[in-house]
């Protein structure tokens, strides 16, 4: 099914597909996440010393900007404006966590937050949305998921090498960031927002309406958690440790 605005024969007026408001909220989260990534990679460039690393971070920022544009364009095709708000409750917290790592000029911590935590969740949930979203919307989510995955690989290699240098220190840093960042992400993905509106959905929270488009919040947080655990496995962190970390998140 290609999802476009339909002509309502009774009123002879263009009306939105009933699922459009749901995609609007889904896209708002995606665009905001991309804009946060733009900010994060730009900040990261500021603390890199190696010119090659700087160029790479800026290239990533550019790429994420492209993703944001692609998602916005998908909204247009559906006849909707996609809002974004990098100051929305959870996103603001995630950005603040990243900025703390920047302030400490901790390149490794920055990579962990952006590439292991934020991107894990982006890849897994985009991929799932890509499977159910109709037409070009679905294709765009799937294609961006694949691109995100590509640039994670490089960072994983850096992080693995870093862990090999000093496992205990690396795991301690990782756990500290997990407690901070993953708690925010877990609250964001929780069945309901415990402290009110997420400040991004245009009306009531989209979570309850997701089944209309073939998604559930449970499934999205399931795939996201799975991807996160698999990414931690790639880093070489013992499975019993990561299982305990995840089990201790607010659920």
């Amino acid at each position: 099914m290609e999802l476009v605005t339909k002509l309502n024969p009774d009123s002879a007026q263009a009306t939105l597909d009933p699922t459009a408001p749901i995609w609007q909220d889904v896209l708002a989260q995606a665009v905001t996440g991309e804009l946060i990534a733009v900010l994060n990679y730009t900040s990261l460039a500021g603390i890199c010393e190696d010119p090659e690393e700087i160029a790479e971070a800026l290239e990533h920022a550019e790429g994420e900007q492209g993703h944001a544009r692609a998602f916005t364009a998908e909204g247009k095709k559906l006849g909707i404006d996609v809002p974004s708000n990098v100051n929305a409750k959870y996103w603001k917290r995630l950005r603040a966590s990243f900025l703390r790592c920047v302030e400490e000029r901790d390149f490794i911590a920055c990579l962990i937050v952006q590439e292991v935590m934020l991107e894990s969740f982006a890849v897994a949930s985009y991929r799932r949305v890509g499977e159910v979203a109709p037409g070009s919307l679905g294709r765009t989510f799937a294609a961006i998921a694949a691109e995100e995955e590509d640039h994670i690989d490089h960072s994983i290699a850096i992080l693995r090498a870093e862990r090999e240098r000093d496992r205990a220190a690396f795991d301690e840093k990782l756990h500290g960031l997990h407690l901070e960042v993953m708690t925010t992400i877990a609250e964001m993905f929780a069945r309901e927002d415990k402290d009110g509106h997420c400040e991004l959905c245009h009306g009531a929270c989209v979570k309850q309406s997701l089944p209309v488009v073939g998604l559930t919040m449970g499934e999205l947080r399931g795939v996201a958690m799975q991807h996160y655990l698999k990414t931690l496995d790639l880093l070489g962190v013992p499975g019993e440790v990561t299982l305990m970390w995840v089990a201790q998140l607010p659920l």
Binding site: R221, G222, M225, Q226, L243, V246, L251
Partner: protein, 363 residues
């Protein structure tokens, strides 16, 4: 770091799954809501839940890991077979990656791949065992010990095996058929039962076969339940008074509602490690809801005792190859390291061996 052994396991109920995660969450956090648990559980990739150390009564120890395949307890059924095989394969790959020298395929994990290690990922130096030979040994030891305690003449007894054509069931039948008066074999498919019956008859045993459990249960003095059921759902109607019933299923075979007979019901296929077991983190008390310490299923214990023995070989593999000789050999290995028959117990606690004293407890 190479590991002596790995155990591939899954939880037998949502309650058990919740208990494990509660231990991992620690005492400071509220327990996970059932809704969240059921939503998230299936997405957890197979991984180590805890490290295990097992000590032989000879003094030395082996180290291993307990790997959960995270099969949702209500999705053990045939319709989920493909996804569960994928989970077992992923758990096996995890065990290989961890460098385990021998892996026990616990519970349904061997049933799903039908004991066929060719279905598992390329194993390198890792070997797999279904653990069913030690399971049979412990079931048989349990039946013999209970009959002895109650002064029963095995030679006069009719033995009913539910799930008789399975790997564990056929192993039990081969060991016990020569010792009893008559064996009754039950499962759903007749052809495999007939094949086994033919084999047992040629050894001189009196054998009957039926797919109708209720028609047969009133003839049995001793019942062994080893059917691969997704949940404790079996009803045994009209058992003989004072029948001995061993439930060795995982999940259990017998419905809790099936226990109101005048019978002695105990959980079988379980061993006790007299040298001790240590779990880190300490999930032992929730992994095994037994009223005695250091209890584990035979299938799990087999890989561990083979590691203690330094025999890293696929001792039990495939389906239907378990012979009395192998059962004897495995029982002797286990005994050498202090792994013995677990004290008799069921869901209500310890089971007194002497006749009639169990009646209060099984109610």
């Amino acid at each position: 770091m190479p590991l002596d052994f790995a155990l591939i396991a899954h939880q037998e109920s949502w309650k058990a799954a919740a208990d494990v995660l509660s231990v991992l969450r620690g005492p400071g956090l509220p327990p996970i809501l059932d809704l969240d648990l059921r939503e998230l559980f299936a997405w957890i990739p197979p991984r180590t839940v805890c490290r295990v150390e097992l000590t032989s009564s000879l003094g030395h120890s082996v180290q291993g890991v307990y790997i959960d395949a995270f099969i949702p307890p209500d999705r053990l059924g045939y319709e989920f077979r493909q996804e569960n095989i994928a989970r077992v394969r992923a758990a096996a790959a995890y065990a290989i990656k961890e460098g385990a020298k021998i892996v026990s395929l616990g519970g349904f994990s061997s049933i799903l791949i039908e004991g066929d290690s060719a279905l598992l990922p390329d194993a390198g130096d890792t070997v797999f065992t279904t653990g069913n030979t030690l399971t049979v040994s412990l079931i048989v030891q349990g039946i013999l010990a209970m009959c002895a305690a109650q002064g029963r003449e095995l030679r006069e007894a009719t033995l009913l095996i539910v799930g008789a054509s399975g790997d564990v069931g056929s192993g039990c039948a081969r060991c016990l058929a020569p010792l009893v008066k008559r064996v009754v074999l039950n499962a759903r498919a007749l052809d495999r039962l007939n094949t086994l019956a033919g084999e047992l008859r040629s050894g001189g045993a009196e054998v009957e076969v039926s797919v109708d459990l209720q028609q047969l249960s009133n003839q049995a003095d001793i019942v062994i339940c080893v059917a691969s059921l997704e949940s404790p759902s079996l009803l045994l109607k009209q058992l003989r008074p004072n029948a001995i019933v061993c439930d060795a299923g995982y999940p259990k075979n017998l419905s809790p509602a099936a226990g109101d007979e005048d019978c002695t019901l105990f959980f079988g296929g379980l061993g006790q490690v007299t040298g001790g077991m240590r779990f880190e983190p300490d999930v032992h008390r929730v992994l095994h809801h037994h009223p005695f310490p250091n209890i584990a299923q035979g299938c799990m214990l087999e890989g561990m005792v083979l590691a203690l023995e330094g025999r890293f070989e696929p001792f039990s593999h495939g389906r239907g190859f378990i012979t009395p000789e192998r059962v004897h050999e495995m029982g002797a290995i286990a005994a050498r390291h202090g792994v013995q028959l677990a004290p008799f117990h069921n869901a209500n606690g310890a089971v007194q061996e002497a006749l009639h004293t169990t009646q209060e407890q099984t109610r």
